[in-house]
Amino acid sequence: MIFIGLLLCVCLVFGSPANVGSVLQPGTSSLVTFRILFTTGSAFDPPGKEGLAALTASMLAQGGTRSLSYDQIVEALYPMAASVNSQVDKEMTVFTGTTHLENLDRYYGLLRDMLLDPGFRPEDFKRLREDAINFLKVSLRETNDEELGKEHLYNVIYAGHPYGHHNAGKVSSLEKLTIEDVADFYRTHYTSGNLVIGLAGGYPKGFAEKVEADFGKLPDRPADKKRFDNPNLAAGTHIDIITRDTRSTAISLGFPIEVNRSSKDWAALALVASYFGQHRSSNSYLYQRLREARGLNYGDYAYIEYFPRGMFLMTPDPNIARQQQIFQIWIRPVEAENGVFALRAALYEYDKLVRNGISQEAFETTREFLTKFANVLTQTQGARLGYALDSRYYEIPEYTSYIKSQLAKLTMADVNAAIRRHLKSDRMRIVLVTKDANAIRDAIVNNVPSPIKYNSPKPKEIMDEDQVIEAYRINVKPEDIVVVPVAQVFQ
């Protein structure tokens, strides 16, 4: 019978007998989860060929093999309700899929051939390149102001850096890519040195060794070990205002930090981000001040790790590990007339955080939350495997025990010291997506007050604070505020 669960004894095994890296989590679940990871990604796109890593991955996951066309693969996967999915970030490309144990051999045979014997068929290339272009030109530019702003913020911060383009690429580069480029990227980067096999669930004895032996046939070259530096940003605040015909104003802001999951101060900064703006939670400061107290928008959050598609997800997808991260504040769309007020409110609250740090009570409650929330993040077999692969990448212990032990050691003083060390607003980058870009630009340049009107009485404390916020000076030089037509973004 089909019966899931019973993860009674999951053990974690790093390493493998061959030259292939692997993270194995054998268990008793009747599901088997694959996460086949390559430590390569869009930061390895050659200049002028941005989007190549992502297009290569989609050619494997959504294209035919040498022996099967893609429609034949779809046909074969259909009765198993299984799929092969790809995800590409700067330094990681992962292929994921889960199958019921009853279908393991059939599913694995397809997955193996898709990754090891790709067909690179012209009809797949035409379709997938067009999909990538339409994703940037239509879906991202024109249907989701929040993701548009967030992704443009990363491009602004990492301009001139290997991280400086969207993972899907640039429209102008994608238009020039060829199927030979894809085959060349595959040959160069899909190597045993870059490979880590992730496998979890009730797979039979000997299965992992078989997968390792199969994938061990990839070219035996060392990993693409590359050091990515902190971006060299000009000092001062810079603002990009993307202009498009939209009814509200989306805001994202942030700056690079020198902290990632392996850093000494990571747990301290993770605690700060959770306290200030836990993703999709009312349990955070910024949300309570902007949404709960003022009704400005749908939510307000803060991050120290890249979290794409956050409007669709309650918890982040694993395997987007990066050497370089940013501190980011996401203000969800506000009514257009409140755009400048909302930006000022975000900056005002951020400056207060940096100035005052967090209280003992906030420290303790957030620490307790994060300690337990680690179990929520790793509820599923797929998530546990994904986090284990990320831990291997960052060279840290298993995630839940790591974060719990790091949090247990922290003090409020450590957290406030980490704020002072890492949260510096002298290189802030801000992106707004709005209809009336010039009016917002003029209001910021001329420091025009931006009072807010409410539909109900507010406590005196809020009204007094509003007076400070509405005139809060955004220190930016006029030449550092740029209006960007949406058609230029991701071009």
């Binding site: 089909i2 899931i4 669960g5 993860l7 009747s30 599901l31 893609y70 429609d71 779809v74 259909y78 009765p79 198993m80 309700a81 299984a82 019921h100 279908n103 009809e123 035409k126 379709r127 067009e130 339409n134 239509v138 530019r141 024109e142 249907t143 989701n144 102001d145 929040e146 498009r244 015909d245 009814r247 509200s248 989306a250 999709r280 939670s281 009312s282 349990n283 949404r291 709960e292 009704g295 928008n297 749908y298 309650m314 769309p333 009514e335 409650t365 307790e368 939350f369 300690t371 337990k372 929330f373 680690a374 179990n375 929520v376 509820q379 599923t380 797929g382 409410y454 109900s456 507010k458």
Partner: protein, 447 residues
Amino acid sequence: MKKFLAAISVLCFAAAVPAQQKETRLFPYNYTIDDLDNGLRLVTVPTDFPNMIALYIVVQAGSRNEVEPGKSGYAHLFEHIMFRGSEHYTPEQRDRILKKAGAESNATTNFDRTTYYETFSKEDLEPVMKLEADRFQRLKYPEPAYKTESLAVLGEYNKNSADPTEKLDEVLHATAFNRHTYAHTTMGFLKDIQDMPNQYNYSLQFYNRFYRPEYTTILLVGDVSRDQALGLTKKYFGDWKRGNYVPDIAVEPPQNAPRTAAVDWNSPTLPWLAVAFRGPAYSDEKIDKAALDLLSPIAFGPNSELYQRLVLKEQKVDELQPDFGNHPDPELFTIYSRIKDPKDVDYVREQILATFERFSKEPVDQAKLDATRSRIRYSFALRLNSSSAIANALAGYIGLRRTPETINRLFALYQRITPQDIRMIANQYFTPNNRTIVTLTSKGAKD
């Protein structure tokens, strides 16, 4: 695309058919049902996933229940207001308790139900149950907080408004339904959302009507026993007073001609097309809905002849998605498609219509039907990968029938359906008079 994905997942686990196996149960967990005297129902599903508990509270009130003109969007508004404090807990106290529990907490609303959920460590079950009981029985929100929260709802409308499929869906329902409340989306009409701040008293009435035990089912899944669940439910929800309101939801009269609508979209987009037919209501006894559930992926899924031609071979379309959710009243069987070139809109529409017509006349291939049953069965199994995923998979069925058993009954129904049944039902529903087509294009893009 969020709603399309949601719709697909509903379909995937809605359906359930065996291929090789002779099983009669799709939902593999043992569960218990306990009914309190006040009409409240408790469903407890112990699982082997350790330490965590998922608490889902399902209220059988969604935008379908919004019967008064000018009052669309209130079920969804309530999803927000329920976080604005109750007699014994301010919103800040509530946040503190859930923060201490390390809980993931949120709520969702759709046509037919509103679902509140928390996932948390098992030691926090009692404080969370106590907290939830207070807001369901003694919600207390001052008018200024109500007005402020109505702006957060407007913020939600705003964040969605850049997406043309939101508008497509709104116009589709407004066109396909004249009397039934499925004519408005769950988000509601913008003018009604903008009027919400003035409707504090109506909001109180909405709460008193629907936040009652007879509309509500508590679902506890995970590292929990029936005794523990029942004890806490009696302790904290036992005194909840039964209500007496039953909404008079208008029956949609039969459609007597095909309908069309066109949306001019302000910013650049690829054209969207929604081709919809009135479909049957959910049933685990009558074959109508179940037969079309099976047809949906065969005719329009990634393995269908139409998908493979339009998306993979001709490459004229980059999205082709069937949407056919489970609802207590008849709703729509819709095919959404995004077309790469405006000049192909007419061609794609004709191809979709020809596919509906084909399956109204031809029986589906037996092998494809078997493969679809297998797919649905594994799809459901693959979903049940944590206690919260199990609760999430159950919530829709709880909203319809208040019991997980309906899944197994539906599974048994699927086993009985033949290619001839599917053809007969398709022929009955996919008629021109049942049809609504909406096209969305950038202003000036077509012609």
